[in-house]
Symmetry: C2
């Protein structure tokens, strides 16, 4: 792992890194050893430094946690393959009315998950011990996070959501056993309500809690950011 740049603002240090070809960012509190490390999986079409990712990372670091984000395959600074391009083009056509995009979305997510799960695990290896590990990911970040959380025993708690059985793997969800806070939007225009409920249902976790709020895919209320922080503090703090 090679750190390529470093800035510090308001008590939080942000460092860009590369691990082989993989680009990522690590946020740490300046004034103390981190109490935990939260991996942040960005949403579809976003990247490791999308405004929502950075805002969440800074909030976590201000609380005393480290946070890390990487670009998912075909996102941010990472190349798209011909196969990625083909699926994305077809998905956009379907989202404009030419059919149901969900089966293609599921196929795309499965393709990316096969690649990103070992990548995240190599990041954990390279970062070393920054405390107990949590994962936060909505939408694409949930679809890719579920197989990661199922496969990686160092991850001890996860905030997931904005996804459903039609765009994420219910089989992988049945392998998730750690505490999960699962977010859904009651009027999500992308994820059918019953698919989101079915994905929550499929999680094998003994402690899992569903938070549903009115509004569309992008309308998760601001108070849920505090709620996620308290969830991690309860399980990792």
């Amino acid at each position: 792992m090679r750190f390529t740049s470093q800035t510090s603002t308001d008590g939080v240090t942000e460092r860009s890194f590369t691990l082989g070809e993989l680009p990522g960012v690590l946020w740490t509190p300046d004034d103390a050893e981190p109490g935990a490390l939260i991996l942040i999986g960005h949403g579809g079409g976003q990247h490791k430094q999308a405004p929502g990712v950075v805002a969440r990372a800074i909030r976590l670091a201000a609380y005393g946690f480290a946070a890390a984000a990487i670009d998912a395959p075909a996102h941010g600074d990472r190349p798209k393959t011909a196969e990625h391009d083909q699926i994305i083009t077809e998905m956009r056509a379907r989202m404009s009315g030419a059919g149901d995009p969900l089966p293609l979305l599921a196929e795309f997510h499965a393709l990316l998950a096969a690649q990103t799960v070992p990548e995240w695990r190599s990041v954990l290896d390279a970062l070393g011990n920054l405390g107990p590990v949590g994962y936060w990911g909505m939408s694409l970040g949930c679809a890719l996070g579920i197989p990661l959380v199922a496969a990686e025993p160092r991850i001890r708690a996860a905030v997931l959501g904005l996804s459903g059985t039609s765009s994420a793997s219910a089989e992988a969800a049945a392998g998730v056993a750690v505490p999960v806070q699962f977010m859904m939007q009651w009027d999500d225009e992308l994820i059918p309500r019953e698919d989101a409920l079915a994905l929550f249902d499929a999680l094998a976790s003994g402690e899992k809690t569903l938070h549903a709020n009115p509004g569309k895919h992008g309308d998760v209320p601001a108070f849920e950011a505090d709620s996620a922080l308290r969830f991690f503090a309860r399980h990792l703090g």
Copy 2:
């Protein structure tokens, strides 16, 4: 309103009162004016000083809120009419396997609600201004609370749940416009899952948030008590 007894423990004063024939309890913090008043609706077969009611009231008072509870009709120190007895006997038979108890439960709740809604309103009149008002009620406390919250403009936020459209009024829920936190148990043996989701759906509130947790009717996790307190603090504090 006549206060009939008073005790003070650990900074919280508990006073029993009667308002006409109606018996109730008021909890207040000793060291400050209450920041808000939370009405607590007890569960079926319980009463105004059931352990869960008292524990919640003390927690609220420790935070700086007043709390009040009354016995629902046919509960606690209040008489059962012949009609109550008949419904309860038949409900118990059905819960032991002699048919579906839910239609009778809905009928029982409607009967009690018609009586308890004006009772709660008279309690609010008699208590005077103790700050903005919230309502907390699960199960029976939800079924009776929904028509109260819909009817009483002094109530500005409510924590409801452990109920569904088969045992509470969806029509009344469509009259609830204040922020609601709605609790459901994912494996509730009394309330069908789809009925609970439908009752949440029926609430007209612009801000409503569903918290679903695994387990049966009585298994709401302890961390949701903090969550309810934060909800009231956010809306009334």
